[in-house]
C-alpha cells in the first residue's frame, strides 16, 4: 500500500513496535498455554519447580473423565440455543434503542437515556431475588425462555452502539430522509451496515457473557436436560465435603472445553472487526 521507502528512524520504530507487541502477546498467551499444559496432567504431578510451560507428559484422562461423565452433546446444544437467541435478541433490541437514542429527537429522550445508563450502575446481585420471583411468576423456571429472555437486552450494548451510531455523519440520515426513507429503513439500511464492528463487538460480548454465565442458569435450569455447558462443568468440584482437594488439572480441562467454542466464534467474528476498523475511516 505504502510505496515510500521507510527511513531508518521508521524502521527502528517498527522494530520497537514489534518488540512491544510480541512481549504483550506473550503475556496474553502464556497463561492459556499454561492452562492447556496443566489440563494434560494429573493432580499429583500438576505443579513442579521450575514451572513447566510445555507439557512433559500428555495425559488425556481429565478430558476422558469429563466426556464420559458429562452429557456434552446435550449441554452443548442447550448452550448453543440459549446463546444464539440471546445474541440475536440483544443485537436487535439494543441497536433499535441505540438508533432512537442517537438519532431521533423526542421528548424525554435524555431522561430515558439517563435512566438506562443509571441501571448499568446497579450490581446485579441486588436485583437477583426479585428478578427470580418475576421469572418464576411467569412460569419460566426450567425453560429456555427463562434462560434467554431476561438477557436479551443490555444497557451496555445500547451505550456501545449509541456511541458508534453517533459517529455516522448526519448527512447520510438527512439525505435518506429527503429521499423519503422511513426511519426504520435508515436504521436498517444505513446504520446497521455502517456499524459492523460495533455490532460484532457487542455480539462477541453477548456471546461470551451468555456462554460462560453460571449463576442464572444455576437458578433456572433445574433438570440435567436443561443444563448449560458451564453449569454442567460446575457440578464438578462442587462438593461441599471439606476433605476434597482442589483438582486444578480437572478444572483447567473443563475451562478449555468451555473456552474453545468462544475462541472459534471470536476468530470468525474477527473478520468483521477487521472490516469495521478499515470502514471507520469514513467517520472522519
Amino acid at each position: 500500500m505504502n510505496s515510500r521507502k521507510d527511513t531508518p528512524l521508521q524502521i527502528i520504530t517498527k522494530i520497537l513496535g514489534y518488540l512491544v507487541l510480541i512481549l504483550v502477546a506473550l503475556t496474553m498467551v502464556i497463561p492459556f498455554i499454561w492452562m492447556v499444559t496443566t489440563s494434560l496432567k494429573q493432580p499429583n504431578s500438576a505443579f513442579a519447580y521450575p514451572p513447566q510451560l510445555l507439557p512433559t507428559e500428555i495425559d488425556f484422562r481429565n478430558y476422558e473423565m469429563l466426556f464420559t461423565l458429562v452429557p456434552f452433546g446435550r449441554y452443548f446444544i442447550n448452550t448453543l440455543i440459549v446463546t444464539a437467541l440471546t445474541v440475536v435478541g440483544q443485537l436487535i433490541i439494543t441497536s433499535l434503542a441505540a438508533y432512537g437514542f442517537a438519532r431521533l429527537h423526542f421528548i424525554g429522550r435524555d431522561t430515558l437515556f439517563v435512566i438506562f445508563l443509571a441501571t448499568m450502575m446497579v450490581p446485579y446481585q441486588v436485583t437477583l431475588i426479585p428478578l427470580f420471583l418475576i421469572v418464576f411468576g411467569l412460569g419460566w423456571i426450567n425453560t429456555y425462555t427463562g434462560l434467554i429472555v431476561p438477557a436479551i437486552s443490555s444497557v451496555f450494548g445500547i451505550f456501545l452502539l449509541r456511541q458508534a451510531f453517533m459517529g455516522v455523519p448526519r448527512d447520510y440520515q438527512e439525505a435518506a430522509r429527503i429521499d423519503g426513507a422511513s426511519e426504520f429503513r435508515i436504521y436498517w439500511r444505513i446504520f446497521l451496515p455502517l456499524n459492523g464492528p460495533a455490532l460484532a463487538t457487542l455480539a462477541v460480548f453477548a456471546f461470551m457473557g451468555t456462554w460462560t454465565d453460571l449463576l442464572w442458569p444455576l437458578l433456572i435450569a433445574r433438570t440435567p436436560e436443561m443444563r448449560t455447558l458451564e453449569l454442567g462443568l460446575a457440578y464438578f468440584n462442587s462438593s461441599t465435603s471439606a476433605f476434597r482437594q482442589t483438582n486444578w488439572p480437572l478444572m483447567m480441562a473443563a475451562s478449555v472445553i468451555v473456552m474453545l467454542p468462544v475462541l472459534l466464534v471470536y476468530i470468525f467474528a474477527q473478520r468483521y472487526f477487521v472490516r469495521g476498523i478499515s470502514l471507520s475511516g469514513v467517520k472522519g
Binding site: 507487541l21 492452562m35 438506562f116 426479585p130 451505550f159
Partner: protein, 317 residues
C-alpha cells in the same frame, strides 16, 4: 398511530406557550423514537426497574430472607446502621482503591498498545486476536489460571522474578499485594477490549491533521497531546465511565480468587453485599448497602459527565 382522531379533535392552541402535551404532539417531536426504544424499555422495566424498586422497598425492611412476606418495615434503621458499619466502609475504601488502580492503569496500558498497533504494522490481526483472548474467557477460567500462575512456590510469575534476581512475592497471601494482584489480572483481562475501542477511535482521526501538525513543526509528543488525545475524548469518556462503573461492581475475581482476604484487604463492596445477602440472608440490610453503592456510582458518573461538560463538550454524553 401517532395522529389519532382523538387528538385532531382537540381545540386549537389556547396558550401561546406550548405545554408538554402540545410539545409532545408537535412535529418536531420525533415520536417514532418511542417505538425504537419500546422493546428495550419494556425489557428494562420488567427485568430491571421493577426488581430495583422492589429492592429499594426492601432496604427499608428487616427482610431476613428467604421469604419477603416476613419482612417488617423499619424505616431508615438499615441506613442508620450502615453509617456506622466499619466493615462496609472498609469495603468501600477497598473498592475505591481498586478503581483508582484499575481504571487509569488499564486505560493507559491499552492506549499505549493501541498506539503501537496503529503504526500500520504487518500481522496486526494476529496480535489483535491474541490480545483479545483474555477478554473472551470467562472469569472463572481466568481466575483458575491466575491462582496457579501467582503461586509463591511454583507460579510462573515468581519464577520470572527469581530468575531476574528479585524476591518472590506471596501475591495473593499478602494483604499489601493481594489487591494489586487482582488489578493486574483485571487489566490483563480487559486490555484487549479497551485496545480495540481505542484503536477504533484512533483510526477515526484524519491523518491530514497529524500531517498538518508536522508541517507546522509539531513533534510527535506535541501532536499526541494536542491532537490525538483531545480527539479521542469521546473514547476516553466511554472507557472511563464504563471502567468506573465496572470497577465499583467488581465481583467475580474476588469471589473466585481471594474471597475478600487476606485480612479483608480485597473485600470489595459488591462481594461484601453478596455475603450479606446470600450467606447471612440479611436481605433488607444488603439492599440498603446496594442502594448506597448505587448512589456512590451515580455520583461518580455525574462528576465525570460534569467534568466533560466543563471541558466544553456540548452533548450530554
Amino acid at each position: 398511530m401517532e395522529y389519532s382522531g382523538n387528538i385532531t379533535a382537540t381545540p386549537p392552541h389556547q396558550f401561546k406557550e406550548k405545554n408538554l402535551w402540545q410539545r409532545f404532539w408537535s412535529r418536531s417531536n420525533e415520536k417514532v423514537g418511542y417505538l425504537f426504544i419500546l422493546p428495550a424499555f419494556t425489557h428494562l422495566l420488567i427485568f430491571l426497574l421493577i426488581p430495583l424498586i422492589f429492592s429499594l422497598y426492601l432496604s427499608f425492611t428487616n427482610w431476613r430472607g428467604p421469604n419477603p412476606q416476613n419482612a417488617l418495615f423499619i424505616g431508615l434503621e438499615n441506613y442508620q446502621f450502615l453509617l456506622g458499619d466499619r466493615r462496609f466502609w472498609d469495603a468501600m475504601r477497598n473498592t475505591a482503591y481498586y478503581t483508582l488502580l484499575y481504571v487509569p492503569g488499564s486505560m493507559i496500558v491499552s492506549l499505549l498498545i493501541a498506539l503501537v498497533m496503529n503504526q500500520k504494522l504487518k500481522g496486526i490481526y494476529l496480535f489483535r486476536t491474541l490480545f483479545f483472548m483474555p477478554v473472551i474467557s470467562s472469569w472463572v477460567a481466568v481466575s483458575i489460571i491466575w491462582i496457579t500462575l501467582l503461586d509463591p512456590q511454583v507460579g510462573i510469575l515468581n519464577y520470572v522474578l527469581q530468575e531476574l534476581g528479585l524476591p518472590s512475592v506471596n501475591w495473593l497471601g499478602d494483604p499489601s499485594t493481594a489487591m494489586i494482584a487482582i488489578v493486574i489480572i483485571a487489566i490483563w483481562k480487559s486490555v484487549g477490549f479497551q485496545m480495540v475501542i481505542w484503536l477504533a477511535g484512533l483510526q477515526g482521526i484524519p491523518v491530514e491533521l497529524h500531517e498538518a501538525a508536522q508541517i507546522d513543526g509539531a513533534n510527535r509528543r506535541q501532536s499526541f497531546f494536542r491532537i490525538t488525545l483531545p480527539l479521542l475524548a469521546p473514547t476516553t469518556f466511554f472507557l472511563a465511565i464504563t471502567g468506573v462503573i465496572g470497577s465499583f461492581q467488581v465481583f467475580s475475581p474476588i469471589y473466585v480468587i481471594t474471597g475478600g482476604g487476606p485480612r479483608g484487604s480485597t473485600d470489595v463492596v459488591v462481594y461484601h453485599i453478596y455475603t450479606r445477602a446470600f450467606e447471612a440472608y440479611d436481605m433488607g440490610y444488603a439492599a440498603s448497602q446496594a442502594w448506597v453503592l448505587f448512589a456512590v456510582i451515580f455520583a461518580a458518573t455525574l462528576i465525570q459527565v460534569w467534568y466533560r461538560r466543563h471541558q466544553g463538550e456540548g452533548s450530554l454524553f
